[in-house]
């Protein structure tokens, strides 16, 4: 099977992150926050065909005041 890059995960740079919590507001399906307000991100790859989730992930990336988030595209679970 050819490797297809059809999944994504949201990744946070923990050093840049200051716990504003915007990502949780913008993408509650992907990001939870801990008791100190720092994001706990769903580590399971999400299918890129799930456009609603991809959209909210993009919103979270764009809405992060510290620009600590990014979307990493990976090949999904085989």
């Amino acid at each position: 099977m050819s490797r297809r890059i059809d999944h994504f995960v949201l990744k946070v740079d923990p050093i840049l992150c200051d716990g504003f919590g915007h990502c949780h507001e913008l993408a509650p399906e992907l990001v939870h926050v801990d008791e100190w307000g720092y994001p706990i991100i769903n580590e399971q790859p999400t299918s890129s065909s799930d456009l609603a989730l991809l959209k909210s992930a993009r919103l979270a990336v764009r809405g992060c005041p510290r620009q600590a988030l990014r979307i990493e595209r990976i090949s999904g679970p085989t």
Binding site: K11, D13, P14, I15, L16, C17, D18, G19, D34, E35, W36, G37, Y38, I40, E72
Partner: protein
Amino acid sequence: MTMTNSLPRVMHGASGRPLSLREHEEAFGTTTVGAALLRELDASGLLGRGGASFTTAKKVELLRSQRGHHKVVVVNAMEGEPVGHKDRTLLSSNPHLVLDGAQYLATMIGARRIEVCVSRKDSTIVHHVQRALHERELRKTGPEFVLQTPPWRYVAGEESALVHWLNDNETMPQYRPNRPHVLHVGRSPALAVNAETSAHVGMIGRFGADWFRELGTPLSPGSTLVSITGAVYRPTVHEVPLGTTLRSILADAGADPDPQAILLGGYGGAWLSAEHQDVAYCNEALLPFGASVGGGIIVVVPKGACGIAETQRIVAWMANESSRQCGPCAFGLPALAQDLRTVLRGSRAPRVVLERLKERCAVIDGRGACRHPDGVVRLVQSALEVFKDDVEGHVNGTPCDGVTSTRHWVAVPALERESELVWE
């Protein structure tokens, strides 16, 4: 010259003072395996002795594949663990062996500069290294050596923090999302190795992989230095073959023959119950117990001491040593320390706090830029497992006798401001 395969190896010729370059060459010889070095290193299966036990040959291979003519070898002798002494002991007896190893590594990856990093806290060691470098300078051969003296902190010895210091004078770990990650000093790719690893490379470069593998196990070959402290006759650094039973290592060090528990791997390591003393001291045998060789640290805690109290002191200190870059570490570790204190004293609904402590451990794990929080979480989790009965006693209001004792077994530097541990 051939070397017998008895111990000591890297501590060969140790006489309480650093060997001069001439004495060093008399003791170890000058013949090297030459161009076969890379193959020998690969065949030796040497694992890094800094804590992560990463295969050195893989690291070298990664650096070899990097472009650039100005690569750097960083020799890490920072020794952030307060109970670790092996790099200091090594540098104060065989500094030239470490430098030889660094030189071989530089040849392998094509580096022109070698940065030797020793904490400025250890002025004697700085002096020893300075002297050794001067002796080499007089020879006017080989790559350029530079002595660096970063300030001492626990996380300063982490390789990315060390490289960060070399670049920007900040001892802060860096975020490395994709591993393996190539560190850079300036624009030059850098190979960071522990000082002891470098010394082993110095031995492999002389005597080859077959000789190296005569000691140790197939998966963890060679010998290693261990710093043994706690309930021992005298805190010492021993060189032991990997795969020796823990019991015989402890017996050699004159440790308490019937201890309560053993801390393995350092402050980010794990507790091991004393009933597992017959386990072999190597990663593959320690793995089922959740422990590892780590930075070669063994702390013996006798019966009558309180394991929770010792753990709490370590965690509080480790929380203070966090560089406070990542939220889960900056806020999570003080929270762990406070929860442990509540469990220890049995005050304020300790059972609820104990559950919260376990949840917090799971939440913090793996969410820092470096492995500092993960190590503390591992320590706390192993403490809750190994001292299970003690924890029950504390929670039920019947604490063990050790909690009132003023005698501590794990050496933890004094905290400057424990009451202000939560950082904002």
